[in-house]
């Protein structure tokens, strides 16, 4: 009865309309390259100040979840992750779109995002306090190993040349070190230029590395920018549902991974989707199809990144520690609304917090019709737009997005230069994805490594710090499994073959 009342509370006309508007606004902002979920939430936060606390929270949750899903549009249709969470969606989404299955990819992304979002929100409702305690047991060493786990994905992105992929990963890691070192404060690789003091902005770098090479290649030939499927007359919902049902274990596993990673403060949707993608590829019967337009890749990444929304709210609401950057903005909005986060929130202001949690479920469910509708028209619009118009429009969006991240022209310059370098490197076999992986995970890996090293030194054994903590060992086991699973599977296949 207690929870039923909260469930009924969310169905007031105001809450419903606010959730719908929030999802729509989030999807539109998230779909634009360069505009992150953080920005979507930050920009729209002032509009919620006049609303009642529960309604305001529902709006913010809806914007956030919509923006994370919206990132998949640009990832699938333009090979540009709309938000960093959608990086791994480009791996299979864009190849699917190029083959003429962009509408199917968008439908699968929508369905997976809804399932992931629901799993994350349900975990938030049912398990918030114990999960928050779990998040506290993650130290720098665990973050370091998590980042290394993400980097093992380089092996699956190697496209036949592991050396070049690993070198690309190293280049990305080195790029992540530009600027002031997080631990130690050294000025590294800035070339005494003020432009590089703050380091490379990840979002600008992502747009540059992914989008600029696509633009450069689009103008090089008169061929159509996208194949047109003969089946664009519908949402391809049935096909999408069948794919998701066939991939149900991947869907659930990725949603759980997304929720678990979302709970870890600072990890975020990009790591969640990369880890889920890596696991999906490892456990797939057709790992060689990944990166070529395999729908399981989209299922994994989109369910994982949307599951981080619910997961991220766990430490935010229970401990007051934001799980992801948008959570930090929402935490600020909560304080403005007079809500004190912490374990007491679930007893003292349970009406607000549970209405919000159920509101998150409502917003996630609303994402299904809205997402399918938006996806259908986004794909049709992209196909109908002449290439001569599409290229300058996307170029304008990249400039706009690159600038809007930090309101800095320097970021735009860095974005274009990185785009040029990315195109040259990709042309000669050093693909962008390993570079991007290194760039994103480098900061987390270095901070975790150096902090773990300092703690280990103070305790008397660095090795013990890195290799004896239980959670670390579980992550290390997964790293080894991911790296050696292809060999193990080959050996198992051989022994089975010889027996038969």
């Amino acid at each position: 009865m207690f929870h039923l009342q909260f469930l009924l509370d969310i169905f007031t006309p105001l809450n419903f309309v606010i959730a719908l508007a929030g999802v729509c606004a989030g999807i539109v902002i998230g779909a634009m390259p360069g505009l992150t979920a953080t920005m979507a939430v930050a920009v729209l936060v002032p509009f919620t100040f006049a609303a009642p606390p529960a309604t305001a929270l529902i709006a913010l949750g809806a914007i956030y979840t919509g923006a994370i899903y919206g990132g998949s549009y640009a990832a699938i249709l333009l090979n540009t992750p709309g938000t960093p969470s959608a990086i791994a969606t480009t791996f299979d989404g864009y190849p699917m779109a190029k083959k003429g299955d962009g509408d199917l990819a968008l439908t699968i992304a929508c369905l997976s995002s809804v399932v992931g979002g629901l799993v994350g929100a349900l975990c938030l409702i049912l398990l918030a306090p114990p999960l928050a305690q779990f998040a506290l047991s993650f130290g720098p060493v665990e973050y370091f190993w998590m980042a290394i786990f993400g980097l093992t994905l380089i092996a699956s992105l190697s496209e036949g040349n592991i050396y070049k992929a690993a070198i690309g990963g190293c280049i990305g890691l080195l790029l992540s070190m530009i600027g002031v070192a997080e631990v130690g404060g050294d000025l590294r690789f800035t070339g005494e230029s003020y432009t590089l003091l703050g380091g490379l902005d990840v979002v600008s770098a992502l747009i540059g590395l992914y989008c600029i090479p696509v633009l450069i290649d689009l103008v090089a030939s008169p061929a159509s920018h996208m194949k047109i499927s003969t089946r664009v007359s519908s949402f391809r919902l049935k096909e999408g549902l069948t794919k998701c049902w066939t991939d149900k274990f991947n869907l659930l596993r990725s949603s759980v991974i997304g929720t678990a990673v979302g709970i870890l403060p600072g990890a975020g949707g990009s790591i969640a989707s990369l880890v889920a993608y890596s696991e999906a590829r490892r456990s797939s019967k057709n790992p060689e199809n990944f990166g070529q337009g395999e729908s399981s890749g989209i299922v994994a990444t989109e369910s994982a990144n949307n599951a981080t929304v619910g997961g991220g709210f766990v430490p935010t609401l229970v401990l007051g520690i934001p799980g992801t950057p948008p959570d930090a903005v929402i935490l600020g909005a909560l304080l403005v609304q007079g809500i004190r986060v912490g374990p007491q929130l679930f007893t003292e202001q349970s009406d607000v917090v549970f209405t919000f949690m159920y509101g998150l479920i409502l917003a996630t469910l609303l994402m299904l019709p809205v997402g399918l509708l938006f996806g259908r028209y986004a794909f049709r619009l992209l196909i109908a737009t002449p290439k001569a118009l599409l290229v300058p429009t996307v170029a304008f969006l990249t400039m706009l997005g690159g600038y809007a991240v930090n309101n800095s022209g320097n970021d735009v310059v860095i974005m274009v230069v990185l785009g040029g370098i990315g195109w040259v490197l990709a042309r000669f076999g050093f693909k962008q994805s390993p570079i991007v992986l290194g760039l994103i995970l480098g900061v987390i890996a270095e901070a975790g490594f150096v902090q773990g090293y300092l703690i280990g030194s103070a305790r008397g054994s660095v090795l013990a710090e890195f290799f004896t903590r239980p959670i670390s060992m579980v992550v290390v086991a997964f790293i080894l499994l991911t790296l050696f699973y292809p060999i193990i599977r080959k050996q198992l296949g051989k022994s089975k073959g010889s027996q038969s």
């Binding site: 070190m177 404060g185 103008v219 001569a388 300058p392 400039m399 042309r427």
Partner: protein, 155 residues
């Protein structure tokens, strides 16, 4: 427009890049000499890994050569023109103004990306629809989202 696919008896381009990365790794090691112990540990580790991987690939190309194909298809002139336009756009947007540089950049890229014959109807349609999208997005960012897009000298 040229369409060429080149197959090389060994990966000469990969070799050249790896020599460059080997030198890059050395220069990173050299640069890290001036950093504190904590600031230097990670760059040195990654630089060592980069040099090691580059050296391994060089040895592989020299000792066990493998035929490698590179695609050099499409118009490189258009590619270079597009990239130069983007660079000029990026460098001038704060000086001249975001809207002005965007309109000029947009029209230049429209010209570079177009392969069809220009007719008055087509040109008018493309420019008008393009400019309406551009100005519409500019207004959304500037007015609704309050992104302080630079006005520069012109606007």
């Amino acid at each position: 427009m040229s369409t060429q696919n080149h197959v090389y008896s060994r990966d000469f381009y990969g070799l050249a890049f790896c020599i460059f990365f080997l030198l890059l790794g050395c220069s990173i090691w050299w640069a890290s000499m001036g950093y504190s112990e904590l600031g230097a540990v990670f760059p040195r580790t990654i630089a060592t890994l980069l040099m090691l991987l580059s050296a391994m690939y060089i040895v592989r190309v020299l000792v066990w050569p493998k035929a490698t194909a590179y695609e050099f298809d499409g118009s490189n002139i258009r590619r270079v023109l597009l990239f130069l336009t983007l660079v000029a756009w990026a460098f001038s947007l704060e000086v001249l103004g975001f809207l002005t540089t965007s309109i000029v950049g947009f029209i230049l890229i429209l010209l570079i990306a177009n392969y069809d014959a220009w007719t008055l109807k087509r040109a008018t349609g493309l420019v008008l629809s393009g400019l309406s999208v551009l100005i519409g997005l500019y207004v959304i960012f500037k007015v609704v989202l309050h992104v302080p897009l630079p006005a520069g000298m012109l606007m």
